[in-house]
């Protein structure tokens, strides 16, 4: 009886299931390398993956509307490169101002995405693919075969230095804001409504276009913020920064149970998904998986988690159905 309720508990909610997977992963890794659960390591997991975790929130909103944004790391590079150059040549040296500039750049990039997708009715993957090239290219243009690193960004990098709490505060603040926004605000409910059934949403008086523009703008804003954080944490602004990482962000959402077809997903799930991705990145080098095989192992873990997730959801659906039949 007790066992049954345990299974019920972990299959009852996606978040509980993910949490269970996390614990199993944690135990396995700790057996393989006992140093894994040190405070230093845990801190590094959040610091090194703050970017993925923050951008996953934006991606959650975008995917709730059945969209996708693959231009995020290009936006990140464009924003990061711009502030890198600004501080390298001592044009702007205030950390706060640099963060704001990066966020404004990201916001404008996202706004353009949103307008073209909502008003121009362009498929999100196509539109953001275009901008993926454009913003990445702009990062190179802005950099003009220079990069900012080490000494150039010394002051700015103080913010993200190992041992400071800045990145953690930003991370916690983002999650708090999005948790409240998606759960308890009108805007949050609109996003879910647009994603589950756009026609129904429109008939019930929701401005679908505006909601779409908003979610891509939010995504851009977060990508810009992540750009600033990236420069600060790694003390390096290069045009190719975080290249290809948008897939980690999408993977975090998918693992976290966000549906690609919209309308389903939660902040808690996204957080756990992003945490799983982060732990994979941190743990693989620690448990002696050979460097050249790490990406393969990562892919396998992602698939296994998602499949496990899907199977249990089917079980839940079936249980619910049976209950209804009775």
């Amino acid at each position: 009886m007790k066992e049954k309720s345990f299974i019920k508990m972990i299959t009852g909610s996606r978040e509980a299931l993910l949490f269970f997977i996390l614990i199993v992963m944690g135990i396995l890794i700790t057996i393989l390398n006992p140093t894994f659960f040190s405070p230093v390591n845990i801190g590094q997991i959040f610091r090194n993956n703050a970017l993925t975790m923050i951008m996953a929130l934006g991606m959650l909103c975008v995917m709730l509307t059945a969209g996708i944004d693959i231009s995020i790391t290009s936006t990140l590079a464009f924003a990061g490169m711009t502030i890198g150059m600004l501080t390298k040549y001592n044009i702007v040296n205030s950390t706060l101002l640099l963060f704001l500039i990066a966020m404004v750049i990201g916001l404008l990039c996202g706004l353009l995405n949103g307008l073209i997708i909502a008003k121009g009715k362009v498929a999100p993957i196509i539109c953001t693919m275009g901008f993926m090239y454009i913003w990445r290219g702009m990062a190179y243009v802005v950099g003009n075969s220079q990069f900012a690193s080490g000494e150039d960004v010394r002051e700015f990098a103080e913010f993200g230095k190992d041992g400071t709490i800045g990145p953690y505060i930003i991370l916690i603040a983002c999650y708090a804001v999005f948790f409240v926004m998606l759960k308890w605000t009108k805007f949050g409910r609109k996003i879910y409504a647009v994603g589950s059934n756009p026609e129904a949403a429109m008939i019930s008086g929701i401005n679908v276009d505006n909601t779409l523009v908003s979610v891509y703008t939010i995504m851009g804003l977060l990508a810009g913020l992540a750009g600033a954080l990236s420069v600060s944490i790694y003390a390096s602004a290069q045009p190719n920064m975080q290249y290809g990482r948008e897939m980690d962000v999408i993977a975090a959402c998918v693992i976290g149970g966000v549906s690609m077809s919209g309308g389903r997903g939660s902040v808690a799930g996204t957080f756990l998904g992003a945490l799983i991705i982060s732990i994979i990145a941190k743990a693989l080098p620690l448990v002696n998986v050979p460097s050249i095989a790490q990406n393969t192992v990562k892919g396998v873990i992602i698939l296994v988690v998602v499949i496990f997730n899907v199977i249990t959801r089917r079980m839940v659906d079936k249980q619910n159905l049976e209950r209804r039949e009775m």
Partner: protein
């Protein structure tokens, strides 16, 4: 009405983006200023070299004279390295790159010091098309020699063959073209030299014994793999390295985030680790930051860009990297200039085994490049340490 709002918004956004773009480019125009600054500092070094250069000149005349005696090249050899009336072109990868600015300075100094004329071509973009256009204009201009840092190994072949057919001596430096497109290649660093410098640095920083790890780029990176292999074979071949233990070769894929993860993993996996050696610019910068932020006692060396590494280079505990290596673009271009002179004067033909004297830089032999052509190896990589980093960090 709504449309209007949208179009206003769009244009506002675009203007903002443009402005942002402008902000960036106006920022980059200032590159000129910092890049120009190191000139006096750098001149100090050539100034020292100038004296031996004069001394070396007669020696240079003597050497080729002996070799070239039977050939009709005796006549130019008698004139030594004097190349008055000859024109030497240098084609770099792109304009506005501080690394090549330094190279052009070195090249010009040698050619003009020997009485020749220099033509500098800096393509506006780092593309092979732009280089082809520049080289074609050099062919019609009728220069005597072209030294090129190629943007592509094969795409310049047709143009460079045309140049050689027109009697122009073609060599390359920094980035080579294929063996058919060149007479010789000035290679910034031979594999063995890099491996030797790195393993010696590891030996020195570890105090002669202990564990070290390598943080490389990708597992398929040709250069890095060759250097790592060289390090391993040198270590095996000499008993003085026998107390060093290579615990792991980690790959950070030349990505700051992954390199950071890998460097942190090395630290927690090997508590007795003494040295990390990162023969890649992204890896060394990421590892330097990890070590320095954590105030780790592990020391770092490898290959890195001075501008990126200045923050981390120092002899005290507050800095993670006591010294590291890369090549000197100015010396590389000087070697290219001397080999161009030797080619134009007929002292060398670009064949393996040819020797020539590169002014005060000493005697160089053309060796097999392994691609069917010859190369000239500049020598051991240049060491950047706390004494010279301030001078170099603004250069590249």
């Amino acid at each position: 009405m709504k449309r209007k709002v949208v179009s206003i918004l769009l244009s506002a956004a675009m203007t903002a983006v443009l402005l942002a773009g402008c902000g960036g480019s106006s920022a980059s125009t200032e590159t000129a200023a910092p890049a120009a600054e190191p000139a006096p500092a750098a001149e100090a070094a050539p100034a020292e070299e100038a004296a031996p250069a004069e001394e070396a000149a007669p020696a240079e005349e003597a050497a080729p004279a002996e070799e070239a005696a039977p050939a009709e090249e005796a006549a130019p050899a008698a004139g030594g390295s004097d190349v008055s009336g000859k024109t030497f072109a240098i084609v770099v990868k792109s304009a506005g790159n501080p690394y090549f600015k330094k190279a052009i300075e070195g090249f010009t100094e040698v050619i003009e010091g020997n009485g020749g004329t220099v033509v500098v071509k800096e393509p506006s973009a780092a593309t092979v098309d732009a280089q082809i256009t520049e080289i074609q204009s050099l062919i019609s201009q009728g220069v005597d020699s072209i030294s090129v840092a190629a943007n592509d190994e094969n795409a310049l072949q047709a143009t460079l063959e045309e140049a050689m057919a027109a009697g122009i001596k073609v060599n390359c430096f920094d980035s080579k073209v294929n063996a058919d497109s060149r007479l010789t290649f000035c290679n910034q660093a031979g594999t063995t030299e890099v491996g030797q410098a790195l393993i010696d640095a590891v030996l020195d920083l570890s105090g002669g014994e202990g564990q070290y790890a390598i943080l490389s780029a990708t597992s398929q990176a040709t250069n890095q793999n060759a250097w790592i292999e060289a390090m391993k074979s040198i270590q095996e071949g000499d008993a003085k390295y026998s107390k060093l233990e290579l615990v792991e070769v980690a790959y950070g894929d030349d990505e700051p985030q992954k390199s950071t993860d890998q460097a942190q993993a090395l630290l927690s996996k090997y508590p007795d680790l003494k040295v990390i050696c990162a023969p890649t610019t992204v890896g060394i910068a990421a590892a330097a930051k990890v070590l320095q932020d954590q105030k780790s006692s592990v020391k770092l060396t490898g290959l890195g860009l001075p501008s990126e590494m200045a923050e981390y280079i120092g002899n005290d505990d507050a800095h993670s990297c006591p010294y590291m290596f890369l090549w000197n673009p100015s010396d590389l271009a000087k070697l290219a200039a001397y080999s161009s002179i030797a080619l134009v004067n007929g002292e060398i033909k670009g064949e393996v085994g040819d020797t020539f004297t590169a002014g005060d830089m000493g005697e160089y032999t053309l060796t097999d490049a392994g691609d069917g052509g010859s190369e000239i190896i500049l020598g051991p990589p240049f060491q950047f340490n706390p004494d010279n980093i301030a001078e170099w960090k603004d250069v590249y």
